[in-house]
């Protein structure tokens, strides 16, 4: 039988899915044991017991200095920034994306500019951002927004342009003004796609968040990672990275559920 026709059973599928994670774990444990045998103080690949210690310290014991539990304080700070940044990006992308997608004049005005801006590496312009926005939350949120907005605008504009011309004309024959067509025809069809676009931008958004927190912050997952990185405290960094990954995967999953829940028709469309 050809390989392309071999279908694993569902039990087999589960085994296969888990395997790579187990292999990575095993490789880690082996690597860690080897390094610790060489140098019992090795910090690069700490043993599992160090993780338990570190996780306990970060996630369950209040910090001596602030009295807060660091992992939760960091998570709250980071998620607030992340979702504020993404929220702003979404709002801007929705408005500008729809303007570009619907109005030829706006398209002529903004499309080339947005295309150029989307290629500017925002990390290189950080000093300007901090001067303009100050060093508080604003600039961190702004970095996330600046980082992900141009791509979201381009994506949404494209989706708006891709709407069949027939639908717009139909809406005009139903008495719709530009505003009404935007509100009742284009917007609702763009929203589920917005969620998909958003899901793709969660990874980059975390990157920008971590970069912003590395420069100035007093709490946050990225801040903590950069703070302890000076001491190569991998026993803290690994759990934090894992936690960020879990948060990102969870957000992705929830957003997809949300799309299906709020826009059931979008799922129907996909299947046809």
């Amino acid at each position: 039988m050809r390989w392309i026709n071999v279908r694993p059973s569902s039990g087999m599928r589960l085994t296969l899915a888990v395997a790579p994670f187990l292999i990575v774990l095993a490789a880690y444990v082996a690597g860690s044991a080897a390094r610790l045998a060489d140098n019992a103080n090795d910090k690069l690949l700490p043993g599992l017991s160090s993780f338990v210690d570190a996780i306990n310290r970060m996630a369950f014991v209040p910090d001596g200095r602030s009295g807060q539990i660091l992992l939760w304080a960091d998570t709250a700070a980071s998620l607030t920034r992340l979702f504020s940044g993404i929220g702003i990006a979404v709002a801007i992308a929705l408005v500008i994306g729809m303007l570009i997608g619907m109005l030829p004049t706006m398209r002529a005005l903004l499309a080339p500019f947005v295309a150029a801006v989307s290629m500017v590496p925002p990390l290189a312009l950080l000093p300007i951002l901090f001067i303009v926005m100050g060093l508080g939350e604003a600039s961190k949120i702004a970095l996330i927004a600046i980082g992900v907005t141009p791509i979201m605008i381009r994506d949404l504009a494209l989706k708006a342009i891709e709407l069949p011309r027939e639908q717009i004309i139909k809406a005009e024959t139903l008495g719709g003004s530009s505003w009404q067509i935007a509100l009742r025809v284009v917007l609702p069809q763009i929203l589920p796609r917005l969620i998909d676009t958003l899901r793709l931008q969660i990874g980059p958004a975390w990157l920008f968040l971590i970069a912003a927190e590395a420069i100035s912050s007093e709490a946050g997952l990225g801040y903590r990672i950069f703070l302890v990185r000076r001491y190569l405290a991998m026993d803290v960094i690994f759990p934090y990275v894992l936690w960020i990954t879990l948060l990102a995967v969870g957000t992705d999953y929830i957003l997809n559920r949300l799309r299906i829940g709020i826009f059931p028709w979008s799922e129907l469309e996909k299947n046809t």
Binding site: A171, G175, P188
Partner: protein, 261 residues
Amino acid sequence: MSAITIDKVWKEYGDQIVLEDISIEIEDRAFVALVGPSGCGKTTFLRMLLGQEQATRGTILLDGTPLPPEPGPDRGVVFQRYSVFPHLTVLGNVLIGKEMTAARYSGRLFGAARKAAIEEAKALIAEVGLSHALDKYPAQLSGGMQQRLALAQALIMKPKVLLLDEPFGALDPGIRAEIHTLMKRLWHENPMTVVMVTHDMREAFTLATRVVAFERLRDRPEEKLRYGATISRDIPIWPPRRAGEPSLIRPDRDGPVQKGQ
């Protein structure tokens, strides 16, 4: 009243002449079937009636006044595809026209006005036989049901002119026959003029009061750019069909068309 006067209309795209010197009077409540080979400009002609395209030369009058240069609620349209909104249910698709004309900013109705609109929409949905599918989305409907929905959606606006661009071309023969019957009834009952583009001669002769053929009379390669399509035939159906009246001579002719016919 909804008579259309087309007077010496030309349509060019850049150098290419698509339509050449078209003049035709379409009387009130006519059902014009537009036929012709692919690419001869039928859709272009319909687009001009719709206001989506402007004639390069000549004038188009609706009841004696020039057509506004963009689509509006006086002219309804049904396309072969994409004629309904995938994000609205059957009811929502029919309601949206009422809502957009009534509520200028929100594009939505509330309270009593909404109830009244829903009643009207439901009546129309019942007419096209979709009462059982009120809350379904288009993706859950068959092709024939989608086109029936598109008709109801256009009719709720009580358009003076209904424009159809191969509306039934993608349907199975059996379903097409059913929808022909429906179409005929709707035309009899609603005060509107219909212009329908079709590839199917049988459909043209089954439904129309008048069959108009477009053709490029000069179609050699070197002539393609310089000459456009014109009206090559204009055949009134005999015995005449008249909106709201059964046929005098063969009263059964305009009755239901049988399946598979």
